[in-house]
């Protein structure tokens, strides 16, 4: 057996492609802001949207730990967290990201010291109108 060939074949096609985060994103949608197990408070940014740049598809967020600039990509999933209204969470769009809204952002492979980057998902809190 040519182990090297096998490594390139099988591992290259499957195992390495599968490297990286392996979280199940679909049930993540139903988890309220701040409650994602193992992520919230450790690997996510929770704060308020300060500014939205539609042209660059970026969102500036002010969080207790500092500012964060989230880039919305084709891969970014946006969800509307309506759990405080006791209603089902919904899929959202970039248009749902408005200044003043409370959001939780999961950066894609966040690096220490970075102040922004592509977002894997963004949850937007939807509250009752005042």
């Amino acid at each position: 057996m040519n182990v090297r060939t096998f490594l390139v074949g099988v591992v290259g096609m499957s195992a390495l492609v599968a490297a990286g985060a392996s979280a199940q994103e679909m049930t993540e949608r139903f988890i309220p802001i701040g409650q994602s197990p193992g992520l919230s408070g450790k690997h996510t940014v929770i704060g308020k949207i300060q500014a939205v740049n539609a042209r660059d598809q970026t969102v500036a967020i002010v969080a207790p730990a500092g500012a964060w600039n989230a880039k919305v990509t084709d891969r970014t999933k946006i969800w509307l967290d309506r759990s405080s209204l006791r209603q089902p969470n919904l899929k959202g769009t970039f248009a749902d990201l408005r200044p003043g809204a409370t959001v939780e952002v999961k950066p894609e492979g966040r690096q220490a010291g970075a102040s922004g980057g592509p977002a894997e998902w963004i949850k937007v809190q939807v509250s009752a109108s005042p």
């Binding site: 057996m1 040519n2 182990v3 060939t5 096998f6 490594l7 390139v8 074949g9 099988v10 591992v11 096609m13 499957s14 195992a15 390495l16 492609v17 599968a18 490297a19 990286g20 985060a21 392996s22 979280a23 199940q24 994103e25 679909m26 049930t27 993540e28 949608r29 139903f30 988890i31 309220p32 409650q35 994602s36 197990p37 193992g38 992520l39 919230s40 450790k42 690997h43 309506r82 759990s83 006791r86 209603q87 089902p88 969470n89 899929k91």
Partner: protein, 450 residues
Amino acid sequence: MYKRAAMIGVLVISLAGIGLSGCKMAPPPDRQSQLIAKGRDLFFNETFAGNGRTCGTCHPAENNFTIDAAFIATLPKDNPLFVAEFNPALKENFENPALMREFGLIQENLDGFDDLKNKFVMRGVPHVLALRTSVQSPAGPRTGWSGDGAPGDGSLRSFATGAVIQHFTKTLNRVPGVDFRLPTDEELDAMEAFQLSLGRQQDLVLPLRLKGTVPKRGQAIFLDNKLGKCNLCHVNAGATANFGGGSLGNANFNTGVEDLPDQPARLTGKAVPRDDGFRSPGDRTFNVPPLVEAADSGPFFHNNAIETIEGAVAFYDGDSFNNSPAGAALKKADPRGVGIELDGTQIVAIAGFLRVINTLENIRQSIELLEASRAAAASEEKRRNLDRAIRETQDSIRVLEGGGLHPDAVAHLQEARRQTEKAARSVFFSRKHTGEAIREQKAARAFLAE
């Protein structure tokens, strides 16, 4: 009359003495044991304010922490597993009761909840044994059939949160606080500790010194990287891969299971969409399950496509595997250009080997449970351990008999089961029968391996 009363008194005191001599004061549980006990209670009893299901609904201890059609057939019709049959809010697009009852399949929405009628997969329930040996991977934790079963950080600890959302909900709205409650951090810690405590805590070291002629040959084929090639992806019959460059941990592969012709669930004519595996959209890969626990926890593969362990081994000799990316890579790496090519006797030999290592693990667990029953302070704990030991022993008998293997060991296992049943019934001689059962388990083991 006084003499008779005195004799009765002496008898009562003597019997009480015998009884008490059987009671040993168990040491107080340490913190980890307390956490595991709490996790066990949550796993089997906590519904998280949902539709009535618990983790144990699909992972019952009495059936190797998994479900299959035979086990499902024993459940009463109001069991929460069948919630789609009696809760109108879950009647459509939550489960497929016919496929659940005939093939033990569960509905999952791994590619999203936007089109429940058309976007779903039907999967078997993996057991949760030996997770300590199978979850970790250099690429991150791998949970569920495709390795991406948990939300949050993707860890085993987070898995329960996703399971509650998918399987415990009262309605398809899936609103936390309305349709269920999410587990707390403390509950996730406890359930993780409990699950990690189940089954093997470490991998085998092959080869074992097996005694049976056919299982011994099966082990040799299993370990032969030019013939069986099994050990490349199932190192030591576990769930980790190693192609010579170090452990890859629990890796994902596309082995072509979805390409199998005549898949049982699809033969019914019901809509069963292709399962695209890891991630969304998926890359068609699935992760590697451990094999030590396989023989008594079928059906096999993520879609319960194959019922028997012999059939599961034979899959790797077929076109679906050999034309898959994993099979093609094996062919390419083989000097003869062969993927996996086995004959009938070789398939049965490998399955025989898997049956024997499964039985050895069941014997190990049975002895552990029997010893734990002797040390248990509470009668409920003692009873629970004895009941599980009986189930494990029944599995051992079934697994060996199913392959026509080791009738000599089977005879000892049958006696071990009888003694364990007596221990469970007896008030005063439970320890004696438990000791006998342990001796019979060891006698059976001696026939299987040195």
